[in-house]
């Protein structure tokens, strides 16, 4: 009996191992084709459509008690832009900082930090969910993005808000971080450009002097070191054309999941 079972067992084990090797190699191949990732990406539209279909347009992200705040708010990605321009801004306490707002707007403007602080603000204790899987909770205070938009009068054709940042993603100081959100998110009451974190000025490690909070999406949408905003009808011709630095590396533009 054993002489029959043993070879059969060995055969089965080998067949299983061979099948799994083939399967893994096949998956690896597919990941490197141009067509298959495109098929997979179709799910992004489904995810966005389904999420929008079942949540109200202005559904609010959960807000937490101050006691829920993380003892230390993790800094991810850029911890310091490190460019000469940025160092100079830090050196004089961002006194020369300006947020430029342009693009498809009636009145292009630029704002100093003091001017931004004078606009309607919102304070919220929210959870930051990184695409890697971790979460941290902090208290944010910032100017409502809708207040900035009101001030510059968006043109009817404006569909997205682009955020341009001071942190270069390449070691040679090029490829600055950027992000984009749609007008629904831009007008969401919790969408702010935060200048304070946990009742103090936003630290350099977390995006000083100004970072985006778009609370229903993952961490990579929360652009740090924002220096310019542009309203556009399409982001197809900006950088890689996918609407953000990480989007250009293959991450989903809709980061609600």
């Amino acid at each position: 009996m054993n002489d029959i079972i043993k070879p059969r067992r060995r055969f089965l084990a080998r067949a299983a191992a061979a099948a799994s090797t083939l399967f893994l190699a096949g998956c690896d191949r597919l990941s490197h084709t141009t067509w298959f990732p495109r098929v997979l990406a179709a799910a992004e539209n489904l995810n966005r459509g389904a999420a929008h279909a079942i949540t109200p347009r202005k559904s609010m992200a959960q807000e937490f008690a101050e006691a829920d705040r993380s003892p230390e708010f993790r800094s991810n990605g850029t911890a310091n832009p490190g460019t000469d321009e940025y160092r100079a801004m830090v050196a004089n306490g961002f006194a020369d900082y300006r947020l430029a707002v342009a693009g498809l707007v009636g009145k292009p403007k630029s704002f100093s930090l003091a001017e931004l602080r004078a606009l309607p603000s919102r304070t919220q204790v929210t959870r930051h969910d990184c695409v890697e899987g971790w979460s941290a909770i902090a208290k944010w205070k910032g100017v409502k993005l809708s207040a900035i938009l009101d001030a510059v009068e968006p043109a009817p054709g404006a569909r997205y808000v682009m955020f341009y940042c001071a942190d270069p993603m390449e070691e040679d100081g090029t490829d600055f971080y950027y992000e984009s959100i749609d007008m629904d998110d831009a007008h969401h009451p919790q969408t702010i450009l935060a200048y304070d974190m946990n009742d103090a000025m936003l630290p350099v490690a977390n995006g000083a002097p100004l970072r985006l909070r778009v609370e229903r999406q993952l961490g990579y949408k929360q652009a740090k070191y924002v220096t310019a905003i542009a309203l556009v009808d399409s982001f197809g011709n900006v950088a890689g054309g996918k609407g953000g630095y990480w989007e250009d590396q293959g991450y989903q533009w809709y980061a609600g999941i």
């Binding site: 829920d68 993952l218 590396q249």
Partner: protein
Amino acid sequence: MPHVEGQVVPAGSYLYYRHRLPVRVMHWVNVAALTIMFMSGLQIFNAHAELNWGKSSYDGTPPVLTISSRQNAQGEITGYTRVFGHEFDTTGVLGASKASNGRWVHAAFPSWLTIPNYKWLSMARAWHFFFAWVFVVNGLAFVLYAIFSRHLARDLTPTGADLKGIGASIRDHLRFRHPAGEEAKRYNVLQKLAYLVIIFVLLPLVILMGLAMSPWLNSLFTGWVDIFGGRQAARTIHFVVAWLLVAFVLIHVFEVIITGLWNNLRSMITGRYRVTRESVHE
């Protein structure tokens, strides 16, 4: 398990039409989708190889699970897994393992268990979220089919007699004795209960905990994720249930093998299961 179609053959065995086509197709779609979801899920986990309980990862309490690696001054690499503060050396499999090219890789789960087979979070997410739709649509189709075809009522729901025989069934399973002959045409009570728990408890739970990790869906009803302990707790439950599903699959495949691998496989491919009348065991 519907109508008898086969005729008695002289040898005392006959082919019985055990699984209808929709069930067979949905079974194999499910196998593919779950396998891909599991393996891409492990690659996603590798991006942050810690599990926490609570609303955030940084609330002052240590992780419940950490998979990591360290290297000593001599350059020796150790992979370790820490569960509730207890550390285990898992070099070679968890924390540090060799890739197919023979090089050591610092990764929580080894390359042979993940899709893609090296650190590539965005691609793992693309696989995971695409096959999540395949899995959910297939699963819903199965539940609807099971209800309306009466597969659920007839084949999966334990009868009163089934439940009374549960003790005997447990004893039989532990002794690897399984129903044979005419009795093998229907699921036994433990089998029914296992399938029901998988279909109506674990699979919905793993889906729900996946949805609980979506910041957008968190905004659906304020605080709903806290019912399960918070977003990081949801991530932990998602991970644990995924492994419970693997445990089910291992038991399922074991049972398939010891109760007649080829006969079982054929019945899930062609639908036909050979029923043997055995006088020896009865």
